[in-house]
């Protein structure tokens, strides 16, 4: 905060220095003291007031800060003799920004600029304000003014960027690009350009207008020398040539680049694209979807005549061979993989054959088969082979095992690659159970054998053969899916826990374990592993899908709350600071980053996960407070009675959502958050590719958000409907507010029913049918929670409605308590019965049970609480008449019955939970371990585990090194089994607490209602 002539905002610097120092060291009380004494001396100084408001804001006194800040602003406006200095303005700006009043900050700068129209500092401040407000047009106008004032290149580029932002992120049409070009052209003619970034922007504006020829001319002219690194220039040239259709020259340029960078795969694809005159690689949208890019270039079938095609293919082959000959570096793979791409193109043209591809694959394997990246390199090429050819390729690979590489790590790498290819082609999972089991045994034996290779490695370094245990886990889970034998599942857990005992940093194992424990129903352990991955900042956007959906249906509310809170904080912080970073890019003249930053912020703002997290955070608050209606009402008040969420629900259909989750690290059995193959029967699915399911996911997310965002409002209306029903019965029949509530709730019920695929009356039929037993629960499909929620809200509406639910029955105004109670009781008891103990099968129904209790049952509980509160003969709720009318007494009977049946079913749940928790720990541990105790030659689970267990006695320092020996000494399968049992108890205890709190709340209601 240095200033000219020792003055800061018109005050001698020595007077303000103590305030700055105190603020910097976060001693705000002290700062306030200094500020008060400064204001005593300079009561009318806008800067002194601005400082005070800054301190107040930092102390959390927002209202006071705003009022002082506004005061400072008024003084600044009034006192024209005072300097409109940037220091005062920027201090006010900081405070206004932190108070979410960007408009006021902008107003200050606008005023200052109107007073001092040729002050560049103030204009830059104003430009910055518009950047913060994303007002691209005003940015442009301000930048042009600055450009006119001083004629500097950078201000012209600020204007040009602002124009581009209008085209990319605003409503600006294509004509604007012409305007930007005109501005640049004029400037270049008189001043040329001096920054490489300015040239890049110029070229991109021409490209936007499909004027590649003009762009090329500029690039090859004097301005081209701004790009110092030759390859950078060549890349742009190649792209422009290809896009302008001059493929021949384009191919020459790409040849040049490949000679300089022979390992540049993308460049090779462009080269081939030019030769075959196929422009798809410049417009395949790879960069539009950065998370799920295509594995191979989506090329068109070449339209070239056969002889031309052949000659171009020969040219490319000859060039690639030359590259191979010229490069001595053993790590350069591109010229070798290029042969495979050429063969693939031949096949697409109808001129290739599978044998050539297999041969090329074999050659590539012999050279690079030991590398961990081999299988992902060739994945796209395997996909074009017929199943028979895949098998043939595998057979050839197997044959290479007869004469393995001499270097042990290389031999190991090759063997792992062969397993991976088996996995990738799906051939592994076609094996009969016994052979598949043997395969897993073989893998784990290979792992044990490879341990000595890592004896001298630093614990931080990845060990040789680590991937084997991930593959073993994949096979074991496949075996579990086929046989439903839980032993395989437990074995998969043990294998990974064993691997992590040897080296605790392997994130791939942790993610697999996280999903295994989730499926098993021990979400507490899954969350432990998730935490150990230390996923923070942007990883929360891309990787928290591993845990978030499971947590949403778990009773671990504290952990879920942290997860959601951290994520939303990260996103909101970014939205707040993004504009300042954009301005930083302007200041440092990195214009292409300006556009990138704004687009990236928009991408995150449209994130589907962000939307879901916002809705779910509110639903979680509602769940947590549902046992106490007053507290619930506070939550609802903070959510504006759910009104905003209804708006969100209405808008969701027209919103463009982004899907930023990175699914690559998900296990095969759950390739997306919506899919878990293990929940269904074995499908004979041998290879589960991580399909790009964005379209399907998009619909699903919209549906979920649309439904969930109605919840807060429906809860609010239900509470009011219930109380209105009892109040009205003693007041006039059908008050204004009561009917308003009723009609809105009905509207939302109709909407809810529509989302379930029914009209309101048909949905009522379904609910009645299932409750009475005429229809089975299957009528609800997988939307059971939504259906029961619907029944709960339907009851609440019916309490205060004068319309019959079903035409032939008169249930007006009394509710359908028994229907909701029956649904809840039936459904919950069914779930309890279906769940065996953990040691028999995964508890896949536990999340549903938790949801039933914490959602529909809790909402129903709120309706009950509302009825009870309205019928209490005390305080404001005191009834005028004193005696109970018939309507109220009917309603209260329903309430009484409801309390009783909910209490009973909750006690059942609690009893079941206690039964699980109280099971002797040793017995449960023993049950888990017994499923694994097999001799190696026996069939069934336990063979892999046996290999690992028998490794322990043979471990020795000389062979395996001190570290591995030491770590393995701590391995205990018993401890892992105990951890599972304890983790299960932890989770169930949390659920028990929720149930007990609800029981207590219902019992209290029972007592309250007894005398009425």
């Amino acid at each position: 905060m240095a200033s000219k002539f020792g003055l800061a905002g018109g005050i001698p610097e020595r007077r303000v220095r103590p305030i700055w120092d105190a603020i910097d060291s976060r001693q705000f009380k002290n700062a306030l003291k200094h500020s008060t004494s400064l204001l005593a001396k300079c009561p009318n100084s806008p800067y002194a007031l601005a400082l005070k408001s800054l301190i107040l804001e930092r102390m959390g006194k927002s209202d006071e800060a705003l009022s002082v800040c506004l005061n400072a602003k008024d003084l600044l406006y009034k006192n024209e003799s005072l300097l409109m200095d940037d220091l005062t303005l920027s201090t006010l700006q900081i405070v206004f920004q932190r108070l979410d009043r960007l408009d006021l900050a902008t107003g200050c700068y606008e005023y200052a600029c109107s007073k001092f129209p040729s002050n560049l500092d103030l204009m830059m401040g104003l430009f910055n304000c518009y950047v913060r407000e994303y007002s691209f047009v005003k940015q442009q106008q301000t930048a042009i003014k600055m450009y006119k004032l001083v004629g500097e290149e950078r201000f012209l580029l600020w204007a040009v960027c602002s124009i581009q932002l209008q085209v990319f992120c605003g409503n600006g049409g294509e004509k604007l690009a012409m305007l930007a070009e005109g501005l640049l052209k004029k400037h270049v003619a008189s001043h040329s350009l001096h920054e490489p970034e300015a040239l890049i922007v110029y070229i991109s504006i021409l490209e936007q207008q499909a004027r590649c020829g003009d762009a090329l001319e500029i690039l090859s002219g004097k301005l081209g020398s701004l790009l110092i690194i030759e390859v950078d220039k060549l890349r742009i040239q190649g792209r422009l040539l290809a896009r302008s259709g001059d493929y021949a020259t384009g191919a020459d340029i790409y040849e040049k680049i490949l000679e300089l960078c022979p390992d540049d795969w993308e460049c090779f694809l462009h080269y081939l694209g030019c030769l075959l005159e196929d422009g798809s690689s410049w417009s395949n949208g790879v960069h539009n979807d950065p998370i799920n890019p295509q594995k191979s270039v989506d090329c068109k079938v070449s339209q070239l005549p056969d002889e031309v095609f052949h000659s171009r293919i020969s040219t490319s082959l000859a060039f690639v061979k030359k590259l191979q000959a010229d490069t001595s570096d053993d790590f350069i793979r591109c010229p070798y993989l290029a042969i495979l791409e050429i063969e693939r193109r031949k096949q697409l043209h109808g001129k290739g054959n599978d044998d050539d591809i297999v041969e090329a694959l074999m050659l590539y394997f012999l050279k690079f088969g030991h590398l961990a990246s081999f299988s992902s390199d060739v994945e796209a090429f395997l996909q074009v082979l017929s199943p028979d050819k895949k098998t043939e390729f595998l057979a050839k690979l197997m044959k290479t095992l007869d004469s393995p590489a001499t270097v042990p790590t290389k031999a190991l790498g090759q063997s792992i690659t062969i397993f991976k290819i088996q996995e990738l082609t799906g051939n592994l999972y076609k094996l009969p159970v016994l052979e598949l089991e043997s395969c897993a045994v073989q893998m784990v034996k290979m792992y044990c054998k490879s341990l000595p290779l890592s004896k001298d490695l630093d614990p931080q370094e990845s060990m040789h053969g680590e991937e084997l245990l991930s593959m073993v886990c994949n096979v074991l889970v496949q075996l579990f899916w086929r046989t439903r034998h839980l032993g395989y599942f437990i074995e998969a857990i043990m294998v990974l826990e064993f691997g992590l005992t040897i080296r605790r940093y392997i994130w791939q194992y942790k993610i697999l374990l996280l999903h295994l424990y989730s499926h098993l129903g021990v979400i507490s352990l899954a969350y432990e592993w998730y935490k150990s991955l230390d996923m923070k900042n942007i990883l929360m956007e891309t990787v928290s899908h591993h845990i978030l959906p499971q947590m949403l249906a778990s009773p671990l509310w504290g952990d879920l709350n942290n997860l959601l809170k951290d994520y939303l904080k990260f996103m909101d912080d970014h939205f707040r600071e993004s504009a300042d970073l954009t301005f930083l890019a302007y200041r440092h003249r990195n214009y292409s980053k300006v556009i990138e930053f704004v687009q990236f912020k928009e991408r995150l703002q449209r994130s589907n996960q962000y939307l879901v997290a916002r809705v779910e955070t509110s639903v979680l608050q509602l769940k947590q407070k549902a046992d106490n209606i007053e507290e619930e009402e506070d939550v609802l008040k903070s959510l504006n009675s759910g009104v905003h969420f209804v708006e969100l629900s209405n808008e969701i259909g027209s919103k463009t959502l982004t899907f930023n989750e990175d699914f690559h690290s998900r296990p095969w059995w759950t390739p997306t958050t919506e899919k878990n193959y293990l929940l269904g029967p074995f499908e004979g699915l041998s290879y589960c590719p991580k399909e790009n399911l964005t379209k399907e996911r998009e619909e699903n997310v919209r549906r979920v958000v649309e439904k969930k965002s109605l919840l807060p409002r429906m809860i609010y209306l239900s509470i009011h409907s219930a109380s209105a029903s009892l109040k009205e019965s003693v007041e006039e029949n059908g008050s204004k507010s009561g009917s308003k509530i009723s009609s809105e709730l009905k509207f939302l019920l109709e909407h809810h029913a529509k989302m379930l695929g029914y009209s309101l009356s048909d949905a009522v039929e379904v609910v009645m049918g299932v409750s009475s037993g005429v229809k089975s629960f299957e009528a609800f499909g997988s939307d059971e929670i939504d259906w029961i929620n619907f029944a709960v809200f339907l009851n609440a509406w019916n309490l205060n409605s004068h319309e019959p639910l079903q035409p032939d029955r008169d249930q007006c105004g009394r509710g359908i308590w028994h229907v909701v109670d029956t649904l809840l009781v039936k459904y919950i008891s069914e779930k309890i019965k279906s769940m065996e103990s953990l040691v028999c099968s995964p508890r896949v129904d536990l999340p549903i049970l938790v949801q039933l209790v914490t959602e529909p049952l809790a909402w129903h509980g709120l309706v009950i609480q509302s009825c009870v509160r309205s019928s209490l003969p005390s305080g404001k709720k005191k009834k005028k008449g004193g005696s109970m009318d018939q309507h109220s007494s009917l309603v209260l009977n329903g309430v009484r019955d409801s309390i009783q049946s909910l209490c009973d079913i909750l006690k059942e749940v609690a009893k079941w939970i206690r039964g699980q928790i109280d099971r002797p720990e040793d017995e449960s541990v023993e049950n888990i371990l017994s499923s694994l105790r097999k001799k190696e030659q026996d069939e069934g689970p336990g063979r892999v585990f046996h290999v690992l267990e028998s490794l322990i006695p043979s471990i020795n320092e000389a062979e395996h090194g001190g570290r591995i020996c030491q770590e393995l000494k701590t391995w205990s399968a018993l401890d892992v089994a105990r951890k599972i049992v304890t983790g299960d108890s932890t989770l169930l205890s949390q659920f028990l607490n929720i149930c007990e709190s609800k029981i207590k709340s219902f019992q209290a209601l029972k007592q309250q209602i007894a005398p009425i």
Partner: protein
């Protein structure tokens, strides 16, 4: 098989497989974006076939006079692509930019004193230990400041090791 190009914001959504590694720090957004806004030439990503992120390097250029230098803030490679000399390629690129575009005198980096594999790698790439910074990492572990002289430092003055260790508050730059 490496297409090395400038890092862009969208790459932040693609680098999970690299950053899940326990030694790779995931910084907050303003950290990455400040680097992108100020030193985009020093932030590169390596893409492999199938558009996979193989690794990336981030750095900056700063200092005055003969201390004008390139700095490697982070260099990291996904497990799948290790032992292929990718880190070397990324480092060479940063050195080239420091040397040719910014005419810096040297490139430096900090490494945990206990991270022997990394220290060995940097030594192979021509870096020498210039000085030890006491308790540089969270006030606990010492850091080593390693340097490599560039062509502008003809006499290689910038890499003559300091005799005594320094404390973090003696560092010229953050």
């Amino acid at each position: 098989m490496t297409t090395i190009r400038r890092f862009s914001c969208n790459d932040l959504l693609r680098f999970a497989s690299v950053n899940l590694d326990h030694l790779t720090e995931t910084f907050n957004m303003s950290f990455y974006m400040t680097y992108l806004a100020r030193w985009p030439d020093y932030f590169h990503v390596a893409d492999g076939p199938g558009n996979k992120v193989m690794g990336y390097i981030m750095g900056k250029v700063e200092g005055q006079g003969e201390s004008w230098h390139g700095h490697v803030t982070a260099v990291t490679v996904a497990a799948e692509y290790r032992r292929q000399q990718l880190a070397k390629k990324l480092m060479n690129l940063l050195e080239e930019i420091s040397d040719k575009i910014d005419k810096a005198y040297f490139v430096d980096l900090f490494v945990r004193a206990s991270n022997t594999p990394a220290i060995k790698m940097y030594e192979k790439l021509g870096y020498v230990i210039y000085r030890r910074v006491l308790r540089y990492y969270s006030g606990e572990e010492d850091g080593l400041d390693m340097r490599k002289a560039l062509s502008r430092d003809v006499e290689k003055k910038s890499i003559i090791p300091l005799k005594r260790p320094i404390t973090p508050d003696e560092l010229e730059y953050d």
